[in-house]
């Protein structure tokens, strides 16, 4: 009698990971230590050496960790323990990561000197550590944005490789992730940096050279200085090409592609924000809020930002072409009052339209917006040179509000810094005006849908749980309805995690798209109706 007959049949997935996986993690750890000590100028003896070592360790170690994590287990859905891990279920580790990320973004946007951005003089700290790489790529010293772009690209590259291994059985995810990595590495990082090395957009003539980063996601596209730079003689012909392409991309290319395949072509195939969310943010996708009040909040916020960006652009255009900027002097408290009234009115209207929905989140978010705006608008009363109670309301003032609240605070600090708390698509879902624009096309004029496979849904909820956009996919699938939602970025994870083969992302005729197949059973009874 051999009671231990099957002891050799132990789980092929070693607890705590393989040796190579641990080595990879150690490499990442050492590289992070190097980056950390660089903040205190401890690497200044040999920046090139330290940077090379740190970057290699980060990339090789990170990729090794990601590959080893999944290589030894059978291909398939790998969500074991997601809700039990401190890192991925808002545990202490998750919060620590969130705080570090948030701090990094705050430094990046408002206090770049914290990470060593030189003001007038040479760089120090971490920014100086990246000087050799910036010199190599474009013959200039680094800036905080160069450091950010490099980290961002490495994150998408390395964690993209991890994602590729996690979903190696799935051709949709494989293709999508390869495109995301290539888009970031070449279009968003190497090509723009190298173009700067070729003296395009340098010497105060800066403009963004990421071909896919379009207005209104790229909100400074319509700034006067930016339009001027694009037209400068020394920047030609590239400047005009980027200007014309930027306009065509938004007005023609985007609506056409979105009509045929949905907004996924951008949001989860080429976009930088989406790319980071799909790779670095993947472990946090289940943290999105699926409640109907979050959905309501989403519709209010994303469309408010869309309106905001259109008004801002219109004002900027008027000022740019006419040269006239109406600087209406307004009392700061009056401006605060107007904003508070607008926010309150929107909430009250929505509260009436959806009386059954618990609206706590709306009140909290409304409160945060008003409070944030109050701090922003009232701070100059107490600090700075001109402590005036009057704010000169102009198109530039409006533009700077947008840059502060939407461009920096929302997309960066909340959008990425809060990955481990709010999920990986907060910005894409609640804020991105480009996503809002394409969402309207996707919802009302597109061939894209997620088809529900007849009556096979067992309401298990994997699809809704792993929807990073917080769509309650199950609510549709269990009724046999297709999923057509403005916010769907077409990442395809709902279809992948479904254990019953119920969901398929596809493009088909517009006719019958919205409700799609409703019933599978006989004449007598409909399974579901609504």
């Amino acid at each position: 009698m051999d009671n231990n007959a099957s002891i050799s049949l132990s789980n092929p997935h070693p607890e705590g990971g393989t040796l190579l996986q641990k080595l990879g993690l150690a490499g990442v750890g050492i590289s992070l230590v190097i980056f950390a000590v660089s903040l205190f100028n401890l690497t200044s003896g040999n920046q090139s050496l330290f940077l090379t070592v740190a970057m290699l360790l980060l990339m090789v170690g990170g990729a090794l960790y990601g590959v080893e994590k999944y290589r030894h287990i059978p291909a398939g859905i790998k969500n074991n323990g997601v809700f039990k891990s401190s890192m991925t279920n808002r545990g202490i580790i998750g919060w620590i990561v969130g705080i570090i990320l948030t701090t990094f973004y705050i430094a990046l946007y408002w206090f770049p000197e914290w990470i060593g951005q030189g003001t007038g003089g040479a760089n120090t700290g971490m920014v100086a550590l990246f000087d050799p790489l910036a010199q190599l790529l474009k013959g200039q010293n680094a800036s905080q944005w160069f450091v950010y772009g490099t980290f961002y690209t490495i994150a998408i590259l390395v964690l993209g490789i991890k994602f590729l291994y996690k979903y190696r059985h799935n051709a949709y995810h494989r293709n999508r992730t390869i495109v995301v990595i290539i888009s970031q590495l070449f279009l968003a990082y190497l090509i723009p940096e190298i173009l700067e090395g070729l003296n395009y957009g340098t010497a105060g003539n800066y403009y963004g050279k990421d071909l896919k980063n379009m207005w209104p996601l790229n909100y400074y596209f319509t700034d006067g200085w930016y339009l001027d730079n694009l037209q400068k003689t020394v920047e030609q012909p590239l400047g005009m090409i980027y200007l014309v392409w930027g306009i065509i991309l938004f007005l023609v290319v985007t609506p056409i592609i979105t009509y045929y395949v949905g907004k996924r072509w951008y949001c989860s195939w080429v976009c930088g924000c989406g790319g980071l969310a799909e790779t670095a943010g993947d472990p946090y996708r289940h943290l999105s809020d699926k409640s109907t009040d979050a959905w309501l909040l989403e519709r209010i916020l994303i469309h408010a930002v869309l309106v905001f960006v259109f008004i801002m652009t219109a004002l900027l255009m008027v000022t740019y072409f006419s040269g006239y900027d109406f600087g209406i002097g307004l009392n700061r408290f009056l401006v605060l009052g107007i904003v508070a009234v607008i926010v309150t009115v929107v909430i009250v209207i929505q509260r009436k339209a959806y009386p059954h929905v618990p609206m706590t989140k709306l009140y909290v978010v409304g409160g945060i917006i008003v409070l944030g705006f109050a701090i922003y608008i009232l701070t100059p009363l107490f600090f700075g040179e001109n402590q005036s109670s009057t704010v000169y309301f102009s198109s530039y003032e409006f533009r700077s509000w947008y840059g502060f609240f939407v461009g920096s605070a929302f997309s960066g600090v909340i959008g990425v810094g809060f990955y481990p708390v709010l999920g990986n698509r907060v910005w894409c879902r609640f804020g991105c005006p480009l996503a809002g624009y394409m969402g309207l096309i996707q919802r009302f004029k597109s061939k894209f849908r997620i088809t529900t496979n007849g009556g096979q849904c067992i309401s298990c909820g994997n699809c809704s749980t792993y929807c990073e956009q917080g769509i309650d996919v199950r609510a549709y699938a269990q009724k046999g309805e297709n999923i057509v939602r403005a916010s769907c970025v077409g990442c395809g994870v709902c279809a992948a995690v479904c254990p019953r083969g119920v969901l398929k992302l596809e493009n088909g005729p517009e006719e019958g798209r919205i409700h799609g197949p409703i019933e599978i059973s006989s004449e007598g009874i409909k399974v579901v109706e609504d």
Binding site: M1, N3, A5, S6, I7, L9, S10, N11, P74, A75, G76, I77, N79, N80, G81, V82, F83, S85, N170, A171, Y172, R174, H286, S291, T292, H356, N453, G454, G455, Q456, I458, S459, C460, G461, N462, T465, Q478, G492, A496, V497, P499, R500, G501, K504, L505, G508, P509, G512, G516, P517, I518, E519, I520, S521, S522, E523, G524, I525, V527, V528
Partner: protein, 445 residues
């Protein structure tokens, strides 16, 4: 029809409640002792494996019930007085009903094994079963699972996700051998072994061993082997959870007997879902059928009849699905095992991956009667249409691309099936182009 009371808040009971609410403004009460709110019991395994939390398994947010005026009572019904139309509960005062719906689901089967009631011996059906399994998993060295069916393999995957060794006793010579054809069953056997489960085919449970303190310490198999373990999963099917209704006026066999309108032998009393036994089941269906969607259809049928729209139970062409570790399984129509006289199938299996397609047909008429799919997704509407219209094998093979439901960029296998068809029949055929199939794909419903 003033007060509709439903015992059980599973998918059948809840569907009944929702559909009654859509059709009427009757007072609706749903009583359950399992959980306060409806959750999807199909997702129990995912809670254990950490894919989801209990909250994620609720298909409706908690405010939904109040908004739809469906009154939820978290209590156990102990007795039903059909004369007085009154229910006795453990905690609250008795509840009177005008219409009663019995939707109490199932209990795991126990076949009188010695030791079957020890601590650490259980099935997996209810939320309480999951809680017990969770408690038992701490410092568990080995689990033994008895019964080679869908719940058994789910339980094996659950323990496997936590690195707890599993011995899996399956009475048949091959996993789920009474339902899956030989090749598909063999594929699952090897998937189980690849996941390092100690699979014992053709092995049965003799008795469960006691540590002297009422705790399980091991099992003894019919082969005489003793396997030490701290947990025994009994997954040898389920039976209707209706013991509290025995010795009442209600006519009961294995389940509560119902007609095609979900009506029981007592006026104004209905039964739906797992606990209901059809007196005359629709053709091709069993009289007890514990499937998610048939529970839904019965719930809707019941609601219609309660509200006075006469309708009858008709679940249509059979279909179902499951997942064996990483292998997804779908079935449409009939796939009899073994194939009777006059029925044949063409079977294609991927040379490397765990993927296969089986198309079953009647040899005389050449009509396709079933599809069995491993690791490949087919489109329900298209298969359903073919099966209802008794499409010939030739038509199905020719148009097979229309049934493809795997994600975009996945390889499709219609050419392989076509070759197989041509080899078998000696007749060559031309595959339909995707363009000509568009109508079938998107308008088949």
């Amino acid at each position: 029809m003033n007060h509709v009371v439903i015992i059980g808040n599973g998918i059948s009971g809840i569907t009944t409640a929702r559909q009654v609410r859509k059709k009427s403004d009757a007072r609706i009460t749903v009583i359950s002792a399992e959980t306060e709110h409806f959750f999807s019991r199909t997702a129990l395994m995912y809670i254990y494996m950490g894919h989801m939390k209990y909250e994620n398994t609720k298909p409706y947010e908690d405010w939904f019930w109040k908004k739809n005026k469906i009154n939820l009572v978290f209590d156990q019904v102990t007795e039903v007085d059909f004369e007085k139309k009154q229910l006795t509960l453990t905690k609250t005062t008795p509840v009177n009903y005008d219409k009663l719906v019995i939707a109490t689901g199932s209990l795991p089967n126990k076949f009188g094994w010695p030791g079957q009631d020890l601590e650490g011996v259980q099935g997996l059906y209810s939320y309480q079963d999951l809680e017990n399994m969770e408690k038992r998993s701490r410092s568990l060295k080995r689990a033994v699972i008895v019964g080679g069916g869908l719940i058994g393999i789910e339980m094996a995957e659950m323990f496997h996700s936590r690195n707890i060794p599993v011995t899996f006793l399956v009475r048949e010579k091959s996993f789920w051998g009474k339902v899956l054809p030989r090749e598909e069953s063999a594929m699952v056997n090897s998937e189980i072994l690849n996941n390092h489960i100690d699979l014992r085919l053709g092995e049965e449970l003799e008795e469960i061993l006691d540590d002297g303190k009422g705790q399980v310490i091991g099992v003894k198999t019919k082969g005489g082997e003793i396997i030490n373990c701290g947990f025994v999963g009994l997954t040898v099917g389920v039976r209707p959870n209706i013991d509290f209704l025995r010795d009442t006026a209600l006519e009961i066999d294995r389940g509560v007997l119902i007609n095609e309108r979900q009506e029981t032998s007592v006026a104004d009393v209905y039964a739906v879902g797992d606990c209901a036994q059809h007196r005359t089941p629709p053709s091709g269906r069993r009289n007890l059928e514990q499937i998610w969607y048939t529970g839904k259809i019965q719930g809707e049928n019941c609601a219609r009849n309660i509200c006075g729209d006469k309708s009858h139970y008709d679940p249509g062409v059979f279909y179902n699905s499951a997942k064996f570790f990483e292998i997804e399984y779908q079935i449409y129509g009939e796939v009899p095992v073994p194939e009777p006289e006059g029925v044949a199938s063409i079977y294609w299996e991927h040379p490397e991956a765990n993927k296969s397609i089986r198309i079953v047909f009647e040899e005389n008429s050449q009509s396709v009667i079933g599809f069995n799919l491993m690791g490949i997704r087919f489109r329900h509407e298209v298969c359903d249409k073919w099966l209802r219209e008794k499409a010939t094998l030739k038509t199905v093979v020719r148009d097979l691309r229309a049934a493809h439901f795997d994600p975009e960029f996945y390889k499709t296998y219609e050419t392989e099936i076509k070759k197989l068809y041509e080899q078998t029949t000696g007749e060559s055929i031309e595959l339909s182009s995707l363009e000509t199939l568009k109508n079938l794909i998107f308008k088949s419903a």
